[in-house]
């Protein structure tokens, strides 16, 4: 246990990096996912095809492969980002596909009559999406989106395989240095579980807040 206290500074850095990755990844994934879901209901076929293709490609390539390709492959093509930024970008591209899928299922929860009503009140397609469809879609999928967020927290650890100094990486490094795998990695595991459980409670609280009568 004392190992954890000796290295608490490094651990704090690791947690900070992890939370930074999660925050950046989540904001990016939400924005990109929303754009993708709007593209997915577009009347223009090309736009729909692009969105659907994006989802198929980025959802089905495992995130370690994406991470390795992005960080070791793309520099060969002359495309170089800082390490932390690259990891955040990969997290965004991977999870945007999941956010989009989740929002799409939320859109199906919008009643047909409401769409018709909105159109007959003179809202254009984009006004309808902006004022009627998206708010309801978001409210309907708070819980599943929370699960995507927890998935993001767990997947942020994959940044460790390319050497971003986040929690998993720091824990692995200390565990090897101190030859105390059980205590150090156990401590990191507890940190992850706590973050996940807190987020779960937070999402449940949020869902309680946005529930409205249908």
């Amino acid at each position: 246990m004392s190992v954890l206290f000796v290295h608490s500074g490094e651990f704090a850095w690791g947690i900070e990096f992890t939370l930074g990755l999660v925050a950046l990844g989540w904001i990016g994934a939400m924005v990109l996912g929303t754009v993708l879901v709007i593209m997915h209901v577009s009347p223009i076929r090309t736009v729909r095809v692009v969105a659907a293709g994006y989802i198929v490609v980025f959802r089905n390539i495992p995130i370690p492969v994406q991470m390795v390709l992005f960080i070791f492959g793309l520099p060969l093509l002359g495309i170089v980002f800082p390490l932390f930024t690259s990891a955040a970008i990969v997290l965004v591209t991977y999870h945007a596909a999941f956010v989009c899928e989740t929002l799409r299922s939320g859109m199906n929860a919008v009643a047909v009559g409401e769409l018709e009503a909105s159109r007959s009140l003179g809202f254009g397609p984009f006004g309808t999406i902006r004022h009627l469809v998206l708010p309801q879609a978001f409210a309907a999928v708070v819980q599943p989106l929370g699960n995507v967020l927890i998935l993001l927290v767990k997947n942020s650890s994959v940044a460790a395989i390319v050497g971003v100094a986040e929690l998993t990486f720091v824990a692995d490094k200390i565990a090897i240095e101190e030859v105390q795998a059980f205590a150090v990695l156990g401590g990191a595991a507890v940190a992850y579980v706590v973050v996940c459980l807190v987020l779960k409670r937070f999402v449940a609280f949020l869902e309680y807040g946005v529930v409205f009568s249908k």
């Binding site: 223009i44 495992p62 370690p64 492959g73 899928e101 650890s157 395989i161």
Partner: protein, 286 residues
Amino acid sequence: MNTTTLLFEVPGPRGRRRNRLFEMVSWTILAGVTYIVMRTLDKNGAFDAAAWSPFGQWGVWRQLGLGLLNNVRAAVVGMLLSMILGCFLGWGLLSKRKLVRYPCRVFTDVFNGIPVLLLLFFTSLALPSWGLSLPDFWFLVITLSLYSTAVVGDLVRAGVQALPRGESEAAAALGFSGFQSMWLILLPQALRMMSPALVSQMVIVFKGTTLAFVLGGYFDLLRAATVLGAYYSRSLLQAQGIAAIAFMLINIALSQLASAIDRREKQRYGVQAVTLEGNVLQASAD
């Protein structure tokens, strides 16, 4: 009836002209973007014959194939193990005794909350330090099956709870013991309802096998591609790209299989397949 057709009324002649225009513009933009990407790739040597020349050899493909086979092997063994253990875990989660149920719940929550990579570091560092040194294959399998057992166990619980109460009552009335009614009556039905979610879990486990990249001692597809890239120093990107496409195609096929099973179940038995609101649903959401 999808959202698009509801949002955008069937266009008149002007609307059709406008849509055609939009479509032409967007095709042009797409073509332009593709051109820029292709030119960037070309300028940096992605299409050089020299970079692709290793892939003319049979041996290179054989190595990649062996790597993929190792991924598949780990995924299959891990999934089978986790299905067996998951049935027991699900049984524990359904138990009326708090002494059995609570530890099972803690197990599920803990292994749902830990990143698989951290778990892999844990098994590959902690187990050898306790004198249990195994080939890297088994570290990967243990990690994946521990993680997957938690999900499968929760799925079994959800599946059994979704069955009508009459099933277990009838089993009790016929004189089956708790064990017998679970394994002979409840579990087979629950497994059928879970089958789409199990296939989706297979996708997740298969994706997880790529984490073996960090082990170094296990020759999976990503490792094979990287080693090839190091050997033929110009072909790293090509080899890794091929690996990514292989993973993508297999995962697409598995997702299609999951939704096909889902459709068939609904058609044949009129039952709603069981999904968890957790990781499982995300892989199967189509």
